[in-house]
């Protein structure tokens, strides 16, 4: 049910032939020369100064950087929620499979966010008025539209329940987010991110708001997802210990990427 391979994503072509180390796999996301400067009135706040990175299929990458180093900014740009600055003489690009995200129009970007990537945030960002099940299914409602969703509803809800079951939340279906603990909320947020079976999970400090133990359990969930489903994950953190669980760690310093080799996984 959860396998991203079942989808027509770029990775489905070679998952079978490539069962070696993640570093040898095909790239799924290629980021080149991303720059971003915020403007506070007249004051320019340069954040990213040309970020280059490559994410491979089924790879778990962690972006490690100090607070305020632009990690969230980078995630938003990768996730198609924000756009990089444009410098015609030095064009930036994000290529996802064979598609150029940075050249996409608004509608294509909406579809990309809806079906190809799943977001997980530090502060969970669940919708307080909806119960857990609705919070998870909302991604599908957005994807199929109100009317399209009607015919899909049964399947989507079954999948949502399956995810909740897996995350040990099946008895919380009718609860509101406010009635859940931080760890539980984050698991709901992960379920929501997975409802449309995305190829990539973008997690922005998913444990940043949790205590160490709960944070570990969230990381266990993520690790398990990657093991069983072959999900590609890009995670952001400022915590070295958390970064250590990933296949590969990228350091973001002064708006540039300093790549490191894998920290002894696989």
């Amino acid at each position: 049910m959860m396998t991203p391979q079942s989808k027509q994503t770029p990775q489905s072509k070679q998952t079978s032939q490539n069962r070696q180390t993640p570093q040898n796999r095909q790239p799924i996301l290629q980021v080149k020369g991303i720059r971003k400067t915020y403007h506070l009135g007249r004051v320019k706040v340069p954040v990213l100064h040309g970020v280059d990175m490559t994410v491979r299929h089924k790879e778990w990458i962690t972006i490690l950087g100090a607070s305020g180093s632009g990690k969230s900014t980078l995630m938003h740009i990768i996730g198609g929620l924000d756009r990089p600055d444009k410098y015609p003489e030095d064009p930036a690009s994000i290529v996802y499979g064979d598609r150029v995200i940075t050249d996409m129009g608004a509608a294509a970007l909406n579809a990309y966010r809806s079906t190809e990537v799943g977001f997980v945030f530090q502060f969970y960002h669940l919708l307080p008025e909806l119960d857990i099940l609705q919070n998870i299914c909302i991604g599908s409602m957005i994807r199929y539209g109100r009317f399209g969703y009607r015919s899909k509803r049964k399947g989507v809800e079954a999948r949502a329940k399956e995810l909740l079951d897996r995350f040990g939340l099946s008895d919380r279906i009718k609860h509101r987010p406010a009635e859940l603990s931080g760890g539980e909320r984050q698991r709901v947020a992960i379920a929501r991110a997975l409802i449309n079976e995305p190829a990539i999970l973008l997690a922005d400090e998913p444990t940043g708001n949790l205590d160490l133990k709960t944070g570990e359990s969230i990381l266990d969930v993520l690790a398990e997802l990657r093991e069983s489903g072959g999900l590609t994950m890009v995670m952001v953190t400022h915590d070295e210990r958390i970064a250590a669980r990933a296949d590969r760690v990228i350091r973001l310093i002064d708006g540039r990427v300093v790549e490191q080799t894998g920290v002894g996984s696989v």
Partner: protein, 506 residues
Amino acid sequence: MPILAMLAVMLSVATILITWSVMGGFLKTLVNSGRSLIGDVTVSWPNVGFAYYDELIVMLEDDEMIDGATPIIETFGLIQLPDDRIELVTIKGIDPVSYDRVTNYTDTIWWKPIDEPTAKDRDGSDVRLDPQFTGAMAMFESNAVTLTRLNPESGQTERAGVLGVEVTGLNIRTEDGIYDPRANGFRALPDGRIERVPGFMPAGGSVGLTVLSLDSTGKPVDPVTRTIPIANEFQSGIYEIDKSTIFVPLEIMQEMLRLNEARKVQLVENPFATEVDPVTGLRRPKMSEVVGIDPARVTTVLVRSVDGAELQEVRDRVYQIYQDFEAKHHGEVPSSFSMENQIRTWEDLNATMINAVKKETGLVLFIFGIVSFTSVFLVLAIFWSMISEKTKDIGILRALGASTTGVAWLWIRYGTAIGLIGATMGTAAGYAVVININAIHDWIGRTFNLVIWDPRTYYFIEIPSEVDPDKAIIVFIVGVLTCVLGSLIPAFRSARMDPVKALRFE
């Protein structure tokens, strides 16, 4: 917050519906009562009146467009009430049988036996219901229909009048919408004592009526006073009329105004002129000579058309018939030319009042419309702040792939839903208030000692309490639109929001 927006829509919908229904109902009642009191078309030649009206009526009633016609004399006079108060009244000399064919005269008669309490009389305290008085009420009713009353002292049947129910001030209108007659009125005597006078007019009461009689040229000359026994009282529902109108038999008015049939005489100019008495053959002072008969006259003929006839067509038909009539009595009745403007529909006659009320309705609606338009801004402000509150959620939805239009639609749909609920509640509330408006008004009157609907200013004793479905639908739709309109700008704002900023929003 959304409940506030709903309340704003509900209140504006309810106020507009109430105002429109009451004012519209007011206009409708005005128009209807105008028609039921004076028929469809009037032919009138004020003061002096016109002759041969019987012939005109026969000619009119021969036409298939015309249901009936009746002669009346309309004039003003002074009425002397049992407590010696003197008031100015409109006097209508009528022929009750034909008058009833043209107007709803018998429906307006108040003192008559009734089987069921009137709409507002919940405890059935109406004296007309009392079996003890059924006989008396039946007698009063037949007296009103014939305009007569038996004089118990002389044992003779006298011609009598019917008073507006509010004229004497001795019938107390209760909250139940009925009249509670006082047994006695009081009259001050010169020596300082107080004398009781009969309070219930149909049982032995009478009034003095003074008018100015007319000379042969129609000029008012001498005051003439008569005592008129009162047979009954009537209620038209229009306060002005009920407060200052009396019906009396047509012949009485003709006599008092000298509009009745009279011999025309040649007056002798020379006081010394003589003539030969044909009987004795002797000379004697010349006597004035009867040269003809002056026929009886009335000031007005009221015409009722058959149902469904076009008012203006009826008026034109009446004018045509008058022209034929004038051809027969050339020189004896007002010319067709002068009558052109004197043959009018009830709408023309009441035009000033109807137009005034129409304008007033328009003005009040306009003001309330503007007041309600502010609810658009209210909804706008409420939605604006709701959207500010939900900034983060909007960011979340965008992160999950929602499009800008999708987000905007969400709010517009929300606005529509709130508008639908608010407008439904407002329409229901407005409807409930309108149909119970008299009870509510009475309750306010009792509790706060306030009279908002004073019959003296608003003509009608009852506040109109009907809701026109068309108006309800229009007001409902406007209410929904108000909310949709109010949510539109905030919806676009939510769509234009930068999703990243929205997500970072705390």
